[in-house]
Symmetry: C2
């Protein structure tokens, strides 16, 4: 088989915002599966904020991608050759092939997808990691109650959109934060949030306060930076802050207070009996069935709405990620690879 595979490797580590030169597209022969192995051809590659962390060698919960290593990522793939009795050609699987068109795998750690149950790409979004982040962050930490107010940023994105819609199902008042008028309209009109505030507006803080007349009981933290500073004073007693991401801080931190307000932060946590808890969704992967049991039904019945933001072609994955980190995506961003 003389066919050519493509892959994108990490060429260098970015100091702040990633740029095209941090990535390198390589052409390599399509690998051949050995005994017990299968050959996967990537259909969809997920782009997610955490990938910025993998490009850095700062200590984190996961090891960084090595220089010259293939960029990591969740993928939906088709089995195109199989020496493994558990898989047949044509099977669609969820895996972590990374930023490449082909991968040889031993079949472990893959999950077969049923194309009749839902679009297979959903396994990278609302029915996958981002959906589970929203679901378990709310179920285990945020716990929105009827009549409480929940705020979530990146409200039109993969996690924020699901957070807000589940909180609405739970009976909370839901206020989103998103950049620009178009996203705001989508969030309120399509997703049914009670309000959506533009974080770029000069009167952002005032408008957020107006939208939360009874304060904030749950702040689902996925952005950090300036938005966190604005939200914090509005948090109520016994507020819960699940922390799943800090996208506004991944490249560089702009627009935040110069004053060290850690003492005030801790004072707020104390005097308002707050809970601030970081979590990594993989800790909840063993509970996938519990998640799917509720969320698949909500998606089928359109109780949960979902929007994808598709980049065409693996070669465009770098600018797709760079744009995601700038908030350019409108919905769950993913790459149609093949």
């Amino acid at each position: 088989m003389a066919a050519t595979a493509q892959r994108i490797v990490l060429a260098s580590r970015p100091a702040a915002e990633p740029a095209a030169e941090n990535f390198r597209l390589e052409q390599v022969p399509v690998p051949a599966p050995g005994a017990g192995e299968i050959l996967l051809r990537t259909l969809w590659l997920s782009l997610d904020p955490y990938m910025r962390g993998r490009m850095s060698d700062a200590p984190s919960y996961a090891a960084p991608v090595a220089i010259d290593g293939v960029m990591e990522g969740g993928t939906v793939s088709e089995v195109v050759a199989s020496n493994n009795p558990d898989y047949k050609v044509g099977d669609i699987v969820l895996g972590r092939s990374g930023w490449q068109t082909h991968e040889v795998a031993n079949g472990k750690g893959l999950r077969k997808l049923d194309p009749k149950a839902a679009p297979v790409s959903y396994a990278l979004g609302i029915l996958g990691m981002p959906g589970m982040t929203a679901y378990f962050g709310l179920k285990e930490i945020g716990k929105p109650q009827e009549g409480e107010t929940l705020v979530v940023a990146a409200a039109s994105g993969a996690v924020g959109s699901v957070v807000g819609q589940i909180a609405k199902i739970r009976g909370a008042r839901v206020v989103g934060i998103a950049g620009g008028k178009e996203k705001g309209q989508f969030v309120t009109e399509e997703l049914g949030f009670d309000a959506c505030i533009d974080h770029r507006a000069p009167d952002f803080a005032e408008r957020l306060k107006e939208a939360c007349p009874k304060g904030i009981d749950v702040y689902f933290e996925n952005v950090g930076g300036k938005v966190f500073e604005t939200v914090f004073p509005l948090l109520n007693s016994f507020a819960r802050v699940p922390v799943c991401g800090l996208i506004a801080q991944y490249n560089t931190i702009e627009g935040i207070s110069e004053t060290n307000w850690v003492p005030q932060l801790m004072r707020g946590i104390l005097t308002k009996h707050m809970t601030v808890r970081g979590f990594i969704v993989s800790a909840f992967y063993p509970r996938f069935g519990e998640f799917a049991g509720e969320v698949v039904e909500w998606v089928k019945s359109s109780k949960l709405k979902y929007r994808e933001d598709v980049i065409e072609g693996l070669e465009n994955a770098p600018r797709g990620l760079i744009g995601l980190l700038r908030g350019e995506n409108f919905g769950k961003r993913l790459v149609r690879v093949g």
Copy 2:
């Protein structure tokens, strides 16, 4: 009855460290109990860090003491006159008479103490509010496990000393932080902590790190400020930080980083899956029986050791509180009033 009572009122609100002129000692007639009422004579007045908060009118979880109002505080008192069938002269009760020698009460919200069970002053310390703070902060949030490392500051104080000893009972390695050699010796030799570090030492950070070779799993936060900055980088994945007080920040904050490290704090909480949770012990008062069931036995059997730091005379309560906020106390500070 021409007898005179004494009381200390809040004369003015301190801007930073409280001073003698913020308090005023007043002589008033001993009040007479009406129908259904009792007259209490204060034996012991507890001095606690939260009192600094009540002197300020900054928003907090409890209303401030009014100017010219009697300073609040927990007390152990003797019933010296009674028009209430539930109390007889000579009964010893735990209440909140505040900084005064006498109070007329209706009997509600008091708890009778048995002088044979334990010294009655213990109800203001290890068998009372500070003990419950330690007990429930560990039980509900800190949850030290066998072999984990717990750090607590103000280690010879009313809360810290109990935190560390209970964590030892639970099988944790316990490192205290305290000011000065004498307190450090007491903490390790008397209370049985594994180590105690002097926060005034110029190499405090290095010594703390050395004392925690496997990092820190539970940091019981009662001081804030510089100590928190030093502890934070040492926290392990899945660390728990119960926040019950921030005594180092109540007057003024010195020696902390000028850089706004809130983004780094949030990043640590995220990437290490930490839980930072504030709590106010009064939320656990309904569970007093659960607390007493374990702690009374531990005190009786000397599994828990306890040291009191007694100030003589109500007129010395102001300097007792000022000193407490400076860390001058050595053990649970309280005032012998009568």
